[in-house]
Assembly symmetry: none
Homo-oligomer: 402 residues x 2
């Protein structure tokens, strides 16, 4: 079996650097039949040149036909099989805001939402309230006390919050209270395994009190919870791959998943230029840079084809500056596809280009979905295989067997 | 899981023959940016015709990004998953010189080497001493006696030797004494598990005496050991695939790995023409021929791009003669890539063509790395899947399920 321990025995020291540039939600679809995808339409001379010099393909983040969440898709890019290394969204939210989660804690991602008549959900995001409003309401909810446990209610951003329950003997096998649909009532907390019955009861008490406290704070008059989870214990990225690694990402979620495998999350910044500048400034301090660009996915989730095109073009302009740092292996890809025609994550394979002095060139001359089908990485590369290929190109893997 | 027992139940008798022609280290890289690889540059009208008529692709010997040793890469071509069937180099060396290894033996591959001042290794191959000199020195080392065990010191070729310790209760979980770098001292024998402590102590005594005996035999004044291993017990190739099989190879290592799965290793010969002639002469005696050509890899390991090209062209000339024998399935591939620009085995996928009356043609018209990306076998075929495909083309696999 190829597992992380296997790579731990194969990695070797080298004075080489690897960059993984993730354009969130990169893969797309044509807006009209026979039209071009967002990436194909974008004018990307630098990415095209990278494709010409490097090796291209499309990767499957989790499995064929599977639409991945951001956690699993990033774990795959980090070389961790997302079917083996599963983590709840609550844990990722906690890590993303630097909340010091303990292994006994149960964490959940929360949304402030709007309940209308008869307690039905009108808006799962409470009109996207401001972060300031969120801070005020979290302070209110922090007043809730329950016997025998510590409760933490933390602002993430806009309508998003983190709830953490801390006590011995809590279980995280709990159904989401967020039905992820409007026009329905929130689900009552429910244990999926007997070991989580006590936790479900505590959550019922918490949510009852929360609803009373928020009653006069329309549109944020209730909280929806999902992704209950405990922090897992995994081998670290540095131990497995021998890479001192930095994560550069503007959005808490992505710093969170990077920190979960032990990467150092550098200061958050929400500006593409500053992210690239940070790579340059910290170039000597790390062997591996994970650089995450969020805006492309957000545009696609908003169904904004042209904004997605424009943001891809914006990133393209920074490629030469990165190549000037002389990385030994440089991957540009997405964590998953987000076609703006669908307005959501999708199952479609994700374009990827790997550039290195030692990669074997293919015939691909343009970085786009159709062109990448014909690349040397193939049209269905398992995402988890990308990092080992980059490691090989950076000459950081020993020979297997004699 | 598809394991070897599964194929054992699926194979069926047929009057058909399969040939596996392995050009060691076949895959390459361009010498200059945008240039041609060795195989692409070689003038190979016969291999190109085979590609035109057959089905092409690139195979991954072990796993993406993994540079395979010769043992694992050949086991994969024989249909044995190299992650499941692992074997040490010592065992392969023993089999390759027809040494009758017992299951209780511990075998190691040895190099005569040159120690310089302060006991540092100057040359891991002792100036590539002659095989005659090796025979003389092995006879000297064969004089070493240790209580309670039998010791065998056997010449392999040039600077290479085989050491076998025979006694009940020996362990083979031992670190290499060969640091595989010059400028360092040999490592002292060291057990990796308690069951090998006794063996490590015996090796220390052996090496102390060896150093004394070799002191005046500069440049071969010491021995380095690696790949300590015992002979594994595996299902045989004939039992699994129902093929009476012959291995034709000039180099001990490859006859060794073939014998490990129970193939009959025919007389060693180091001449390409004689190898092909042997296939012709023994055509009626076997169902499966594994034909191994070593020189291409040696040229690439020497960094000699043009010699690799010339040797590929030399093999190309023998292809019509092999086709005249009317094989039912004929595979031409490498065990791994050895780009002459790197001068070592590499992780790059390996070109493969499969010819048979029953294979489905693709659009590939040239046998080369870029062209094979577009072949019907795909750019990332798992090497272990090749043999079953050849079996199918030779109509030697039954239908699965009703």
């Amino acid at each position: 079996m190829r597992d992380l321990e296997w790579f731990q025995n194969l990695n070797q020291d080298a004075e080489t650097k690897i960059v993984l540039l993730v354009l969130d939600g990169l893969g797309g679809l044509p807006a009209v039949t026979e039209g071009l995808t967002e990436l194909e339409k974008a004018n990307t001379p630098n990415l095209d040149d990278l494709a010409f010099q490097g090796i291209c393909g499309l990767h499957t983040p989790v499995a064929p036909g599977i639409t991945p969440g951001s956690g699993p898709s990033h774990l795959a890019l980090f070389g961790y099989d997302p079917l083996q290394y599963q983590v709840g969204r609550g844990v990722l939210s906690a890590l993303g805001i630097d909340f010091d989660l303990k292994h006994k804690d149960v964490a959940a991602r929360g949304n402030f939402c709007t309940l209308g008549e008869q307690g039905l959900i009108n808006d799962r995001r409470a009109g996207r309230i401001s972060t300031d409003k969120n801070l005020e309401l979290c302070a209110l909810l922090q007043e809730i006390k329950l016997p025998g446990i510590e409760i933490f209610v933390e602002t993430v951003k806009e309508y998003r919050l983190l709830l953490v329950l801390r006590a011995e003997g809590l279980g995280a096998d709990l159904a989401d209270t967020d039905p992820q649909e409007v026009g329905m009532k929130p689900n009552p907390p429910q244990a999926l395994k007997p070991g989580s019955n006590k936790t479900a009861e505590l959550l019922r008490q918490f949510l009852d009190q929360a609803q009373q406290l928020l009653a006069d704070h329309h549109p944020a008059n209730m909280v929806l919870l999902r992704g209950f989870a405990k922090k897992p214990v995994w081998p670290s990225f540095e131990d497995v791959f021998g890479l001192r690694s930095a994560a550069i990402a503007g959005y808490p979620m992505y710093r969170g998943v990077a920190k979960l495998v032990g990467m150092e999350a550098l200061e958050a910044m929400d500006d593409v230029g500053m992210e690239f500048q940070t790579v340059r400034e910290r170039w000597d301090d790390f062997d591996f840079f994970f650089l995450h660009i969020k805006g492309i996915d957000s545009a696609a989730e908003d169904g904004d084809f042209e904004r997605k095109v424009a943001l891809i073009e914006e990133v393209d302009a920074y490629i030469p500056e990165l190549l000037n740092l002389n990385p030994d292996a440089f991957i540009v890809t997405g964590d998953h596809s987000t076609p703006s025609t669908l307005g959501s994550h999708s199952w479609h394979p994700v374009p990827v280009v790997l550039w290195s002095k030692h990669c074997r060139p293919d015939d691909v001359k343009q970085f786009g979905e159709r062109a990448c089908i014909h690349g040397g990485l193939g049209p269905r590369l398992h995402a988890v295989d990308l990092l080992p290929i980059a490691m090989a190109n950076a000459q950081r893997l020993k020979k297997f067997g004699a």
